[in-house]
Amino acid sequence: MKKNKSILLSGPYILWMLIFTLIPLGVMAFYAFTDPDTGKFTLQNLEDLGLFLPSLGTSVWFSLLSAGICLLLGYPVAYFIAHRSPITQKILYMLIMLPMCMSFLLRTLAWVGLLETNGIINVLLGKMGAGTVEVIGTSGAVILGMVYNYLPYMILPLYAIIVKIDNRLIEAAEDLGCNGVQVFGRVILPLSIPGILSGITMVFVPAVSTFYISQKLGGADTMLIGDIIEKQFKTSNNPNMGAALSLLLMLMVLVCTGIMNRFGGEDEEGGVVV
């Protein structure tokens, strides 16, 4: 009796989430299938998506690359942190969290100041007698921006998993004759796969939909899918096209995270929190 009653507590919540997450997605789909001028049903928006598929491809490629780089850079760091004393762990964990709380717009702008042709890095290089490097406006700059902004999203879930690995397992492996590389390859790495997968998802999803990073750091040929969606809404005034693009993006992300979850097995309650 009591239990049944307390279920009612979640009623308003379910209603809220239906109204403000599911229905908006429905409205978005509605826009995607209507004509911007007449408001009638059309498939034209979806047909016109063809133009933007290369951008979608670029976005996916850049974000996968960024996620890969984040993994390569983040894993050793997470491993390092997980093997400190508890106090040091707390401090380092906080230091990784801290940048996530600060304005990512300003931090990205700081990279523009660092990397510009006449930016800080080039001025320093010039003083050392080296030539200048042109970074702004290249794909590399966009990927750097993604790695910079989303690296903490990789490190934190990795750390959360690695710190839980039972040390006795490692000792057992060593007792059974594994060398360092084997211990890592056969014990530590397989056990940290859930962290790796959630890290990749957490880097991939924001990276694939970003528009700020590519606008500030990218150049004439780095137009990402997020840029295009933003433009459809904010300058081209074609919300219907924008909705169709968002739908495509959402489906794609859904499939990608779905694949991740498949590999990762069942996560009891789903959803990984930092």
Partner: protein
């Protein structure tokens, strides 16, 4: 191996903190630029506390994140208890609903919510301002709820259910047992959920960007539109202070947690210790205080007897008191103390149009260019002006009356006029190459050319170069111009609007087409820059004029403002800052002599005759131009001759995605049932 690991960790931390260090250093830098350190100052901090607008924005951000956190935390905690008591299958369904905002890209969440709000507000309820404070708050609560739920649920699961029963056996009502036992047990989860929600909400840009109207903006949304010129260093000062604040908060949280952990370990038996009780009270006190402050702020900010005049203007298009110019808005507010000007900016005519058409905003005064005014008149989006309130209209020069865009002078009063030419850096660009628009196609300067990031201006340049009318509606001619633009794409460094300031003044790019007034501004900032008007090939001559959109709620106040801006003295002072030419008779006399005499701002009449104005084009031409421009930027050099042939890849992509989705998500429940 271990050593390498340590070094890498240090390097990564350096990488993460380097840009923040740059910002902190910039907040003490006497110069305006990020790049050059010109001496130590704390002046920017003083500026920050004098800057009413910036503090208001910070207040807005804090208000939204505090309110949404408090509401989401309370709401989420109760809901989590309900969800916890559900049967596993139902719980799983609800949890996947909870996960939607977490797994969806922010941009999709933001767009879908804004579409819902605009759809309900404008289409169903016929509200004038369908995006406002409340929509922003709803959006923040929506994306905060999952953080709370996902943090509270595990604590509920860890809790021993017998505890609650014990409390009830001892005579507690279910409600009492919840407050006395359950709440205490899950408190760490609630707190960490609230903190996460607060930081996410405070720093959220993407969702707020799509969901906020013009009336209530948060700090990140405004920072996004600050891309003009090097950013005001007081913003860096604010960043530094926020950094310190969050740092102190985090350290305190960690210390408290470490202490609590220690206590727990040493006592083993879980009792409500004295310090735990103090900790709880402190937390409750802080929460209550924050709530009080937040709601106080809300009451304070909504309680206003003043009329709010919402002005929407181009970026950097009104004198704001910096560099010894007049602060026009402050002067106006002084003259009319009952009017409070809320000033926001847009980047291009097209983005202004999108904002108006999107229906989320209330605006009383806009300053679009000629062709956009014609379009707005054509689509019945402007109110006719009451010229009885604008006696200063008499100062408007005759040649700016009876224009093509507003033939009966019914809807607009001119604000500025100017030309579009080329700005280039004399240090790097050979004068011999400066012969016309083809300079922008010169391969010698590949990677150093900037181009307009709006289709109309970009097409205009290609059309002048190709000798096509800039007002053509002919598809073949438009494709010809598009082809020309596609040829230029490999040379272009970036497509920009407001970002041009930093790039040209910092000499990171050398050549760009832009509006004369802004070019003059850049030339004042960097003396290597020069302006060239390709008079033989033709150039765009534009007028920006003040109009009152249909959504206006304070037409009379807007007309007072228009009248104020038409005073020759005010107009002259305004032009000193924005560097455009004034259509007001006598305003030139009040201008700084250097600017008033400049050929860039006031070209010779004989040259002016060669200028061409943009005319209003039909919607399908605009759409074609937009999609061609998009195509240039995506496909680089390739611009397809014909449309069509695109359908198949899309159908295949969608089908593939749908099949994959079905494959991935449908079998899951079956899997579970075993």
């Amino acid at each position: 191996m271990k050593k390498a690991n340590r070094i890498l960790t240090v390097l990564i931390f350096a990488f993460l903190y380097l840009p923040m260090l740059v910002l902190v250093v910039a907040s003490f830098n006497n110069g305006k630029d990020l790049t050059v350190f010109e001496g130590f100052t704390t002046g920017h901090y003083a500026d920050l506390f004098k800057d009413k607008d910036l503090l208001t924005l910070l207040g807005n951000s804090l208000l939204i994140s505090l309110l949404s956190t408090v509401i989401a935390t309370a709401f989420g905690t109760f809901s989590a208890v309900g969800i916890h008591n559900m049967k596993p299958r139902l719980r799983k369904t609800v949890m996947s609903l909870t996960n939607i905002p977490m797994t969806n890209p922010d941009i999709v969440t933001g767009i879908s919510l804004s579409l819902l709000f605009v759809f309900v507000g404008s289409t169903l309820l016929h509200q004038k301002e369908s995006l406002n404070f409340w929509t922003l708050l709803i959006a923040h609560i929506t994306f905060n709820l999952p953080y709370v739920i996902l943090n509270v649920m595990p604590k509920l699961k860890q809790m021993n259910p017998a505890l609650q029963d014990a409390a009830m056996d001892l005579g507690c009502t279910p409600l009492q047992s919840f407050f006395k036992v359950t709440l205490h047990e899950i408190m760490p989860g609630i707190i960490s959920g609230a903190i996460m929600a607060f930081t996410m909400s405070l720093d959220d840009f993407v969702i707020s960007y799509f969901v906020s109207g013009s009336g209530f903006l948060t700090l990140p949304v405004e920072i996004y539109s600050y891309t003009k010129k090097p950013m005001q260093p007081r913003v860096y000062a604010m960043f530094t202070l926020l950094f310190l604040l969050i740092f102190v908060l985090m350290v305190t949280m960690n210390l408290l947690q470490i202490r609590a952990d220690r206590k727990r370990v040493s006592k083993q038996v879980r009792t409500v210790t004295k310090s735990g009780r103090i900790f709880r009270r402190v937390c409750a006190g802080v929460c209550a205080l924050l709530l009080l402050l937040g709601s106080g702020w809300l009451i304070f900010s909504t309680r206003q007897d003043k009329i709010t005049l919402n002005v929407m203007n181009w970026g950097q298009n009104i004198a704001d008191g910096s560099d010894g110019t007049m602060d026009i808005i402050a002067a106006f507010e002084e003259k009319y103390p009952n009017i409070d000007v809320n000033y926001t900016t847009y980047e291009s005519n097209e983005s202004l149009y999108a904002k108006l058409k999107g229906g989320g905003v209330t605006v009383d005064l806009i300053i679009p260019s000629d062709y956009m005014i014609a379009r707005l008149i054509d689509e019945d989006m402007l109110n006719p002006l009451n010229f009885n309130n604008i006696p200063n209209y008499k100062y408007v020069q005759e040649r700016f009356k009876n224009t093509a865009y507003d033939p009966n002078n019914a809807y607009s009063v001119p604000y500025t006029w100017g030309t579009v030419g080329i700005i280039y850096n004399t240090k790097y660009v050979d004068e011999a190459d400066v012969t016309g628009w083809e300079l922008l196609w010169n391969e010698k300067y590949a990677g150093k050319v900037l181009m307009f990031d709006n289709s109309r201006d970009a097409f205009g340049i290609a059309q002048f170069l190709e000798g096509i009318s800039i007002n053509t509606t002919d598809e073949a001619e438009l494709r010809q111009a598009a082809k020309k633009l596609a040829e230029q794409n490999p040379l272009v460094r970036q497509y920009v609007m407001d970002q041009i300031y930093g790039a040209m003044e910092g000499e990171n790019a050398w050549i760009a087409p832009y509006y004369a007034g802004d070019c003059m501004m850049m030339m004042v900032a960097n003396e290597n820059l020069a302006f060239y008007l390709p008079e033989e090939q033709g150039f765009n001559l534009f007028i920006d004029a003040m109009c009152i959109p249909k959504c206006s709620e304070n037409q009379e106040a807007a007309e007072l403002f228009i009248n104020f801006l038409c005073e020759p003295e005010i107009s002259g002072a305004n032009m000193d800052y924005i560097c455009y030419a004034s259509p007001i008779e006598g305003a030139r006399d009040y201008m700084d002599e250097y600017l008033a005499e400049s050929e860039v701002i006031y070209p010779d009449d004989s040259i002016l005759e060669k200028g061409v104005s943009y005319l209003f084009l039909p919607a399908e031409t605009n759409r074609l131009m937009d999609s061609l421009f998009m195509e240039i930027r995506i496909a680089g050099g390739d611009v397809g001759e014909e449309d069509g042939g695109h359908a198949w890849p899309v159908v295949l992509t969608f089908a593939g995605l749908a099949i994959a989705a079905a494959f991935l998500f449908l079998p899951k429940p079956k899997h579970k049932r075993k």
